[in-house]
């Protein structure tokens, strides 16, 4: 069995693949939260890995995760300058299945979930990213801070504001 040496860079086949298996899904989901579009998210995520490979000599295994996210963000920024298109955030959510068949129960839950998804679409991007990475991808505030390269306090502030917005939106629907 191969061990990853301390100084191992991402240039080794198996290391690169492992990094891919570890982080692709998370990065792709993060980008879905950002763009609201699966195809674009997967494209951008793949491109981030391509750039990682191109610069593999200068990226250590521990830094790979944050490198990928920073690269993806930068990619998105560049693309935006080209496109100048306002991206409408499409709802991509599945719900974990609720099997109980009681009609009243299902209807109430569905109603609320719909309100919630609508409200999520109205969140500004900064808040939306923090909220969804925390609630859906179970990333801690610390992990999110590292990915976005902001402080934990900033993450908490965005989460707090996200909730205020959601509360207001849901109250209005």
């Amino acid at each position: 069995m191969n061990q990853i040496r301390e100084e191992a860079t991402v240039c080794e086949d198996t290391v690169f693949k492992t990094v891919y298996l570890s982080y692709f899904a998370l990065l792709r989901n993060f980008l879905i939260f950002k763009f609201g579009n699966v195809q674009r998210a997967e494209d951008t995520a793949q491109n981030a890995f391509v750039i990682l490979w191109e610069n593999c000599k200068s990226v250590s295994v521990e830094k790979a995760k944050s490198y990928l996210f920073t690269t993806a963000m930068r990619q998105a920024l560049n693309q935006l300058k080209h496109d100048k298109v306002v991206v409408k955030f499409e709802s991509q959510f599945q719900q974990t299945e609720i099997h109980l068949e009681s009609p009243e129960f299902l209807v109430l839950e569905r109603e609320f979930q719909t309100k919630l998804e609508l409200a999520l679409q109205s969140l500004p991007e900064k808040q939306r990213l923090v909220f969804l990475m925390n609630r859906i991808e179970n990333q801690s505030y610390k992990e999110i801070a590292e990915l976005l390269e902001i402080s934990v306090k900033a993450v908490e502030k965005r989460m707090h504001q996200a909730l205020l917005v959601l509360r207001k939106e849901i109250g209005n629907i």
Partner: protein, 308 residues
């Protein structure tokens, strides 16, 4: 008038990450707000994104890599060959334990065991029963059960109990599951419970019980608030005798021999867990049997009254 304390300016994010409790949070917001925030909290944890096609994306990525002018590129081959190596490497990333049923609990003969699950649900195992669940339990609330257990489930994502004889799904409720080779039974004490067995599914409301013995499905009503064995007794209502004897065997770790013709006699009654003699008496008396204990073997025989 609601006072915003100086706890933190981010009390909402603190509460979302459970740094402050519900009780503390309730002091900071109105009742109406609390209810809605609660729903946001639980509703958002039920959302999921579909998973990406890992293999497909890898192929597309590999194609992009061959387009770049690098001399050495990762070999463009199927991912799955490497999953074996990747899996052992993932050990270093701590990801491999995600969905394996690596946590377990067992109750020995004659004792019960209470387990607190990562989502704060409680399971009480009856004698000779075991459960297994994943370390990532809070994400997918699935638990394997062999034997009998009583559950008090915290509200949240769907909670599934998998047994060899059927599956039970709930959202947040109190119920009991018995999963023994000759006896599959689910009782709902609070909330709603969905039971799946084979191609059939049924919903139980509080006080309702479904029992499948010998492929026979029966519904009953239960009036007690929790199983008797939690407080050291086993109760049976219109149950075939052999099922009662198996339960006795499980409880005391004994083997019971009895006249064949008593196998399907319908029995209603209970026995205590604390003393084997008292237990055997309460089983034998109603059906006119007597018992004889030798080591851990018990022989039941008809009393003189019956031998005509």
């Amino acid at each position: 008038m609601i006072q915003k304390t100086n706890l933190s300016e981010q009390y909402l994010s603190d509460w979302m990450s459970d740094q402050i409790t519900d009780a503390q949070f309730q002091c900071l917001v109105s009742t109406e707000d609390f209810m809605i925030y609660q729903k946001i909290k639980s509703g958002s944890s039920q959302l999921k994104l579909g998973s990406p096609d890992i293999e497909q994306n890898w192929l597309e990525l590999s194609q992009k890599l061959t387009q770049t002018q690098k001399k050495s590129q990762p070999k463009v081959s199927s991912l799955w060959k490497y999953v074996g190596i990747a899996a052992s490497m993932l050990l270093l990333f701590g990801v491999y334990q995600f969905f394996g049923y690596t946590q377990s609990a067992i109750a020995d003969i004659g004792s019960t065991k209470s387990v607190l699950l990562p989502d704060k649900s409680v399971v009480v195992l009856n004698s000779q029963s075991s459960i297994a669940y994943s370390k990532m339990f809070a994400m997918h609330r699935k638990i394997k059960l062999d034997g009998a257990a009583y559950f008090e489930v915290e509200k949240g994502k769907v909670f599934t109990v998998k047994t060899a004889y059927g599956e039970v799904e709930v959202l947040g409720t109190k119920f009991e599951v018995i999963a023994r080779p000759d006896w599959f039974e689910v009782t709902c004490f609070e909330g709603k419970v969905k039971v799946k067995s084979g191609k059939n599914a049924t919903i139980l409301t509080p006080g309702k019980k479904i029992r499948i013995i010998d492929s026979q499905v029966a519904y009953q009503t239960e009036t007690i608030p929790q199983p008797l064995w939690i407080t050291g007794e086993s109760g049976f209502k219109s149950v075939p005798f052999y099922v009662v004897l198996h339960a006795l065997e499980n409880q005391f770790g004994i083997q019971i021999q009895y006249p064949e013709k008593y196998k399907k006699v319908i029995f209603t009654g209970s026995f205590t867990h604390s003393d084997i003699d008292t237990a055997l008496e309460s089983i034998c008396l109603p059906v006119n049997l007597q018992y004889n204990i030798k080591d851990s073997k018990v022989v039941l025989s008809e009393t003189a009254l019956n031998q005509n």
